[in-house]
């Protein structure tokens, strides 16, 4: 364990103590037997190496990984581990196995052992023959490779190549028809699944013809290719999704990162990547020798109506780059001045995504007011720099043109993360200070004086001279010399449109009064133009003048200046964020089935009135629910608690063989057993009884909504009481039984008490003793450092969670008969309580503590907190559960291995590993990445030489596991299991447990290194999932930026795995494990690029001036990566730019405030007209082409291929049935309506009239209009606009 400061230790102790308290309550509640299980179903999870080993199931790997990681980066380790495999150190027998193990292991390592990719993502590897007879390596990717993310996907190919090289296998030489097949297939996959990035044909050709490893795949889609079929070396005609992902989202999209690793590893044969990057980067971003960058318009592709463009790529007036990190930026979040946010039509609110030109693709927006705001021209002609948000709001309606949208704050780490060259920064105060500046000059004269003492001119007094040409500067100087006059310190001269444009372009503030332009102050301005106090041209104008404009003004003024323009970055609005309660559609209050009887609203009340036959008593429903049995009185029921008071257990049976089954497969037919029966349930009676129990009157209650049917395997139900209570607190339930609130993630490392609405006293109670400078906390304006697991939730979320806490208290007191836990009186009381944070498509929750509320509708949390939710995992060893000769039994692995080791054919490898196929057929319990347990065949057993030390894990439920440090452990990510190496598992990691016949999760509470007494360690290989229950512990795995929070106790009490749907991905988004403590070394590496220094070194700016690589100054910038494994890795962070309010600027984006597309589009186009850096005609054309025409054409074509549905039961029909009625008797209606086809037609025609749209696009609209008319007939009534359909 890494050392930790006493302060942080106290912080963690406190979190753990609170967690333990909640756990105790939840356990007491669960004991009552009301829920499907009598224990808490979220296990609490901890080091990566073991997770990896557990995941790949190769014993000994973890130790080796630890050794390697001590010496090199994870990526390098991932490649170098291949050396060991090539040397057959882990018992590999043949080349295929070496390759298989090496690739899987490094994939597991790269994905932090949490995603399913290493196991399920790679189907197999094969060695095949080139046409010249040489061998080549073929890797078969499968669908789940998606979860690995592009970088790991691409690197897996690199690993394959690395090991291939060692083994002396030749390169893959594709045949021409194979290349064409790839191209066709990837495009087809794109049309089916829509790739993040579809490489151009040239890119694909380049990749396939040069990639030394054959990227093959398992068929993943239903569709077959129509062109290049039945190729000799491509086994399938079906589309191979895994292959497409690796090529498109891996190699093509992540080429720069791959190149980075190729260079690091000095690998040959990947030079073509450079060619690719150049192609991708547009024209010719680098010939390595050529310095500089070129505009990239990729972010403008697929422009959607209503999401405005703020700046075209590298265009004057666009965002000017400033390096730095504010306390609320970094990690894919950039800062803009709050005034910019207002001036740009309030489209960007805190947390809104902006697609940017560079360095990455997108950035969340945070308000930072220590950078420059926009400069605008008002209707009266005045040019004003908007210095604060208040002024911005006042001026909003008077702006005629946005000349400059202001600066954008992007951290160095972002450039590092994206492997982008550093580009020149706009001159800013931090840079000025590095060059000797100390105090900001108060006025022009002081600034001039500073310059005369040898400093550069302070950025606040700089004009954007480099945007003018030398001759234009000359023209300006001459004009002012001739027509200007200075009176009372104000420079004034007659209005001239050309001169005014020059002034606007250099962002010189001025006013226009009665056709006279006035500039004040003007000393620096005049001096830069080479004009003296009397406006005469100085002697500097005579003689040789420098060519470049910036040099010219420096020469004329005699002052040192740097470019204020720097590099402009293009940007447009991305996806608007949303923070809101998680609701399924329709949103239920309780997981209780009501079938069709509940009507379309699935109302429990309505169901209780439903009578399927006249004159029968209402409320009796036929419902499909799980069969459970009471262990005490053997009664079979669907209730979780038998009428005798005991907790019931599900009864599984095989639907085919009709026999009851213990375990997960039918021993007779191999089918998975189910536990379902039709019950006749009197819902009315149940409902009335529940109301009685709760003491709630029917009329006080709104609708209580159930679900149509249960989708889980064993179909357990929730108590109706829970639904009634949720309904009375206006809460909705998610599919796993929890109440959640979705929030947008924004990073925050420091906050001020004033911003979070919490008193200084309360914060002191929570452990915030001093501010970042070590001054005791007293004042609400002091800056406090946010510990990794403290979060701020939006106020709306606070209200929702407050309701949830009240609901839990009601639940405890009225249903479970326990004392209430939270006892909150108001929202503010939530502060200090624990929640579970969960990222989408993951299965590990992260423990967090609420320390305040943000006015902006985003969840502010520590970057580590956000990163930790992305990945996270576990590990296993000793008592294994096997199914053999009809019996499931738990036996020690040693006995199992020795009994099954077929000595007659055992092999031994160079490092002393015995391995063999098992001599008897047996199955071991394993779990798939979705957390569904399976019995899998044991394919081999092995005995290994033991390493010097083993790692012992202890979980909170008392499970112990002793494994080699390289062992792969499964750990829970939010809803997947992923594999990591045992040594990467850390305390608090959630591992999947096998307990009582289900998979649950538990936390590792202790990790000890123990010396190994035994000479041997044992392992077995399990088919398909490559994991096994050892001492009751299994393993697991995903990413995203939007996540949700739920109250800790809600998760512990109400969550049940058994509610989760059986479908693949059913366990996604469920908190299958809870990480109680974040360890920076184990979270997404992205967060390691977070820079934590108070200032950048001057080298950053200097490197940027020469377009040097971000990596060149890597060691000069204080980033998390450099602090890893020291106490400073989690505290003592700084930031370069402060901001006065983390909730500054608009709180809600205009995009969501505007209702109709018409309004949004109007706003977008009028904004485009106003912004100098945006071409509104091009915006209009792009919107037409990429959004409206696509929509019109798509819907028109869909109209003539449409499906139909029943209005009553919602059954979908591929075509109209001949009967013309649904089977249920309901009416059948079309799914595509005339209105939805036409919705953008009028708007498109209007755009064509108003904007300069190309003839081609105009004609397309005309043709579509014609076709719509010939499909629907001539307009009878007045054309309905989009507004009529919204």
């Amino acid at each position: 364990m890494t050392e930790i400061s006493p302060h942080m230790q106290a912080y963690y102790d406190r979190l753990n103590a609170d967690l333990a308290k909640a756990m105790e309550v939840a356990q007491a509640a669960r004991k009552t037997g009301i829920d499907p299980e009598t224990h808490v179903e979220i296990p609490i999870a901890n080091d990566l190496a073991d997770r990896v080993e557990a995941q790949v199931g190769i014993t000994g790997v973890a130790t080796r990984i630890r050794e390697l990681e001590a010496e090199m980066s994870r990526e390098e380790a991932a490649l170098h581990i291949g050396d060991d495999f090539a040397a057959k150190k882990f018992g590999e027998t043949n080349k295929e196995e070496i390759l298989d193990h090496a690739i899987r292991t490094s994939m597991a390592l790269l994905t932090e052992g949490v995603v399913s990719a290493p196991i399920e993502g790679i189907a197999k590897v094969a060695i095949k023959k080139n046409d010249d007879g040489s061998e080549y390596l073929s890797i078969y990717y499968a669908g789940p490779i998606r979860s690995a993310g592009g970088t790991a996907q691409a690197l897996s190919v690199l690993v394959g190549d690395y090991v291939r090289n060692i083994l002396g296998i030749s390169k893959y030489k594709p045949r021409e028809e194979e290349i064409e097949r790839y191209i066709e297939e990837i495009r087809q996959y794109n049309s089916i699944m829509s790739l993040q990035y579809l490489p151009s044909e040239r890119e694909m050709r380049l990749i396939i013809s040069n990639c030394p490893v054959c990227i093959d795949g398992e068929p993943t889609e239903k569709e077959e290719v129509s062109g290049h079929r039945n190729l000799e070396r491509v086994e399938t005609n079906t589309v191979r999704g895994g292959m497409a992902l690796v090529i498109a989202e891996g190699l093509a999209l992540k080429a720069p990162k791959v190149l980075k690793n190729v260079r690091k590893m000095k690998m040959d044969g990947w030079d073509w990547l450079e060619e690719m990057i150049q192609q991708t980067a547009g024209s010719s971003s680098s010939d390595e020798k050529e310095v500089g960058i070129h505009p990239k318009d990729k972010f403008l592709r697929d422009l959607i109506g209503g999401r405005p463009v703020f700046s075209y790529p590298m265009r004057e007036g666009g965002f000017r780059l400033v390096y730095g990190r504010s306390r609320n930026t970094g990690l894919a979040a950039a800062g803009l001045h709050p005034a910019t946010l207002h001036i740009l039509g309030d489209f960007l609110a805190v947390g809104t995504q902006m697609k940017i030109e560079r360095p990455g693709k997108a950035a969340g927006i945070s308000p930072v007011d220590s950078i420059q705001g926009p400069t605008v021209r008002l209707i009266n002609g005045d040019v004003v720099r908007v210095r604060n948000a208040k002024l911005a709001r006042e001026l909003q309606n008077q702006v005629s043109s946005i000349i400059d949208v202001g600066e954008i704050l992007i951290s160095y780490g972002e450039f590092m993360e994206n492997n982008h060259v550093l580009v020149p920064s706009a001159y800013c105060e931090s840079w000025w200070r590095l060059e000797g500046g100390t105090t900001r000059p108060v006025d022009e004269d002081e600034a001039i004086a500073q310059c005369e003492s040898g400093l550069y001119l302070h950025p606040d007094f700089l004009y954007l001279w480099d945007d003018l040409s030398s001759s234009e500067i000359k023209r300006l100087a001459e004009y002012i010399h001739q027509d200007g006059a200075i009176q009372d310190g104000i420079l004034s001269f007659p209005f001239d449109p050309e001169i005014k444009e020059f002034l606007e372009r250099i962002l010189c503030e001025h006013t226009v009064r009665e056709s006279v332009i006035q500039i004040h102050p003007n000393h620096i301005f005049c001096r830069c133009l080479g004009l003296d106090a009397t406006l005469s041209l100085s002697s500097a104008w005579e003689g040789n003048l420098p060519e470049s404009s910036l040099d010219l003004v420096q020469f004329l003024s005699g002052m040192k200046m740097r470019s204020k323009a720097g590099t402009r970055i293009g940007g447009r609005m991305g996806r608007p964020g949303k923070s809101k309660p998680r609701e399924m559609k329709p949103a239920p209050h309780v997981l209780f089935p009501v079938g069709e009887a509940g009507g379309s609203r699935r109302s429990v009340q309505e169901a209780s009135k439903y009578a399927y036959q006249a004159n029968t008593e209402g409320g009796s429903l036929q419902l499909e629910m799980g069969v459970r049995r009471c262990p005490a009185c053997r009664t079979e029921t669907w209730l979780n608690r038998c009428s005798c008071g005991s907790h019931t257990e599900p009864v599984l049976s095989c639907s085919r063989c009709n026999i009851e089954i213990q375990g997960t497969v039918c021993p007779q037919c191999g089918m998975e057993p189910v536990s379902v029966r039709q019950y006749t349930v009197n819902v009315r009676q149940l409902f009335q009884q529940a109301l009685g129990n709760l003491g709630i009157r029917d009329r006080d209650l709104d609708l209580v909504k159930g679900v149509k049917g249960l989708v889980s395997r064993n179909k357990p139900v929730e108590l109706i009481e829970k639904g009634i209570l949720r309904s009375s607190h206006n809460l909705f339930v998610f599919k796993d039984g929890t109440v959640r609130f979705d929030i947008i993630d924004m990073p925050l490392t420091h906050f001020r008490p004033r911003e979070v609405g919490v008193s200084v006293e309360r914060l002191r109670d929570l452990g915030y003793e001093t501010d970042i400078y070590g001054v005791p906390l007293q004042n609400p304006d002091q800056v406090l450092e946010l510990p990794p697991q403290d979060i701020l939730v939006p106020e709306g979320c606070g209200d929702y969670l407050y309701s949830c806490a009240c609901f839990i208290d009601d639940l405890l007191s009225k249903v479970y008969g326990l004392p209430p836990f939270y006892n909150l009186e108001k929202r503010q009381d939530l502060v200090g309580h624990l929640v579970i944070g969960l990222a989408p498509h993951t299965s590990a929750g992260v423990l967090a503590r609420i320390v305040g509320f943000s006015k902006a509708n985003v969840g502010y949390g520590h970057p580590f907190f956000h990163a930790a939710k992305r990945r996270n995992c576990f590990h296993g060893d000793t008592l294994i559960e096997v199914y053999e000769e009809g019996m499931l039994k738990e036996i020690p692995i040693r006995r199992f291995v020795l009994e099954h080791l077929d000595l007659s054919q055992a092999g031994i490898d160079c490092i002393g590993t015995f391995y063999a196929d098992p001599c008897r057929l047996s199955y071991a319990r394993s779990v798939d990445t979705g957390g569904i347990p399976h019995l899998r065949k044991v394919t081999s057993v092995s005995v290994h030489k033991s390493p010097a030390n083993l790692i012992q894990f202890t979980t909170s439920r008392g499970k112990n596991l002793l494994v080699t440090p390289d062992h792969a452990m499964l750990v829970w990510d939010v809803s997947y299991l992923r594999k990591i190496r045992a040594l990467e598992v850390s305390i608090g990691d959630a591992v999947p447990l096998w307990e009582g016949g289900i998979v649950i999760s538990d936390r590792i509470i202790a990790i000890d290194y123990v010396p190994c007494e035994d000479e041997r360690v044992y392992c077995l290989t399990v088919d398909t999932d490559h994991n096994v229950v050892a001492n009751g512990i299994f393993t697991g795995q995903c990413d995203g930026d939007e996540d949700c929070v739920m109250m800790l106790l809600d998760g512990l009490m109400n969550f049940s795995r058994s509610f989760l749907p059986v479908t693949r991905g059913g366990s996604m988004d469920a908190p299958l494990v809870l990480t109680s403590r974040i360890t920076p070394t184990e979270i997404d590496k992205e967060s390691h690029n977070l820079d934590v220094c108070p200032t950048y070194p001057i080298e950053v700016y200097e490197t940027a001036l020469r377009y040097g690589n971000a990596k060149d100054v890597e060691n000069l910038v204080d980033r998390v990566e450099r602090r890893l494994n020291t106490p400073a890795q989690i505290e003592g962070f700084f930031f370069t730019h402060d901001t006065s309010d983390i909730s500054g600027g608009p709180l809600e984006t205009m995009y969501t405030q505007l209702q109709s597309m018409l309004d949004k589009l109007d706003c977008e186009l009028s904004l485009a007209k106003r912004i100098r850096a945006v071409d509104e005609h091009d915006v209009a054309e792009r919107v037409l082409k990429t959004h409206f025409i696509r929509d019109l054409q798509g819907n028109l074509s869909a109209f003539a291929k449409q499906k139909f549905r029943c209005t009553k039961c919602n059954t979908s029909y591929r075509r109209m049935p001949l009967a013309g009625k649904c089977r249920c008797g309901g009416n059948i209606i079309p799914t595509v309506h005339e209105g939805s086809v036409k919705k953008y037609l009028e708007m498109s025609k209007k755009i064509c009239e108003e904007y300069n749209i190309s003839e081609y696009t105009r004609q397309r609209i005309e043709v579509i209009d014609m076709n719509i008319e010939s499909t629907f007939g001539e307009e009878k009534i007045e054309q309905m606009g989009l507004a009529d359909f919204m």
Binding site: E177, E180, R181, I183, E184, R187, E201, E224, S226, G227, H228, I1189, Q1193, L1196, S1197, F1199, A1200, K1201, Q1202, K1203, F1204, R1214, R1215, M1216, P1217, L1218, A1219, G1220, I1228, I1229, P1230, E1255, Y1256, Q1259, R1260, V1263, I1264, M1266, N1267, I1268, E1269, S1270, T1271, F1272, G1273, E1274
Partner: protein
Amino acid sequence: MLDSTMIVERFLDTKLQVHPDVVRYIREQKDDRLIDTIISGVPDDCVVVSLRHIPGLLPSRDGVRFLCDPEVEIISGRMGTSKPVGRVEDYIVYFADRYARLSGMIRGRCNPVPIEALKRNSRYKQEEFAVCGMVMEVRSTGNGHRMAEIEDSTGSVMALFNKDRPDFSEAERIVPDEVIGVRGSLSSEGNLIFADQIFRPDIPFSYAPYTSDRKGAAVLISDVHVGSDTFLDDEWNRFADWLSDSEVSYLLVAGDLVDGIGIYPDQDKELVIPNIYEQYDVLGTMLSDLPSHLKIILAPGNHDVVRGAEPQPVIPEKFRKNYSSNCLFVENPALVNLQGVRVLMYHGRSFDDLIGLMPGASYEKAYDVIPEMLKRRHLAPCYGKRTPIAADTVDRLIIDPIPEVVHTGHVHIFGISRYRNVLGINSGTWQSQTAFQKQMNIQPTPAVAISLDLTTLQPRVHDFMNDSPEPLVL
């Protein structure tokens, strides 16, 4: 029960081979005495028994044709036939019409019972019966059998086609929304038909084509794609010169007259004429250079300016300004009568669907799909896939009456097939391989025209790719 294998064996016993159509005829008649009757009537020198050996089955023509004036008559697909879709009910009417007309063609041969009756009347559990319905869904079962859900207006039922039955290849070719008759027996639960035999609307065994008694020839082309950067200018000019020298009276173009605009993403990069009006004007000029006695019949395709949903209307007036009076614009599909020979022109969008659904079908042999259309008596049997279909009160895609020739295009690969005396001609293209085709590995056969002698219905292939063929002389 008469089994195909058994019938074949019976003939083989007498050292005779038998044409599959004869087997099908005997099965449909359900009369095994017929076998002996046929065998006894077969001449001694005959090796293969074909339809003409069946006593009483004489080729017949479907009515009288008036062969006086107009030389060209548009039987269906005249301008203004296709209508806009009015209401949802149109879809009910549309499929009802398809079912009524196609099932009418089957009904006489298998005496179907309403599907609902299977549930109501227990006698169907004991005896063999037939139903006739439209396929709602078809799939393969885990064991490789085919399972189809067929429905009529009274209800729907599943039918299982056993893969070990001799006729399984027919069952494999069942596509959604075609109308079939199924003879078989009911499962004990009464919810599944074990199918024994499939009936399709098909071309009658006795169908005999018309031939013109006056001399005359038509040239069939399609997919001109004017405006595309891959349009073959020189080849077209050679073709135009050849036409002037040849004794040809009719030129039929089955769709994709121009390359169009916005048909696929970034099409503008592959257009030399990015203006849709100009594309049609250029084609007009090209056609006016052809001899004026030539009757030119122009149908639209998916690249043309009209709506994609079939039936596609004729090219609107405003694009036809530059066309001489010998150009006739028709809809897609259209049935035209050339001196008594009926040619069904259809662009062929449904190839995209059918090729994917038929085992063994390929773009290279799209012409082999035309017989499949004829068997189903429908140009685009599958609804909701790639072929958009506009609902109308009558199904204009049904092949009725039976034409002498079916003329299609779309796939850019020419080919000729014949099915029960109906000639299927897929004409090639005047566009070289496009980027899309390259990517799809489709090798087009551009610059080929197929001429048709109207007196003999003999097609001839003329290739203009490298030089001019001999002029056509009748």
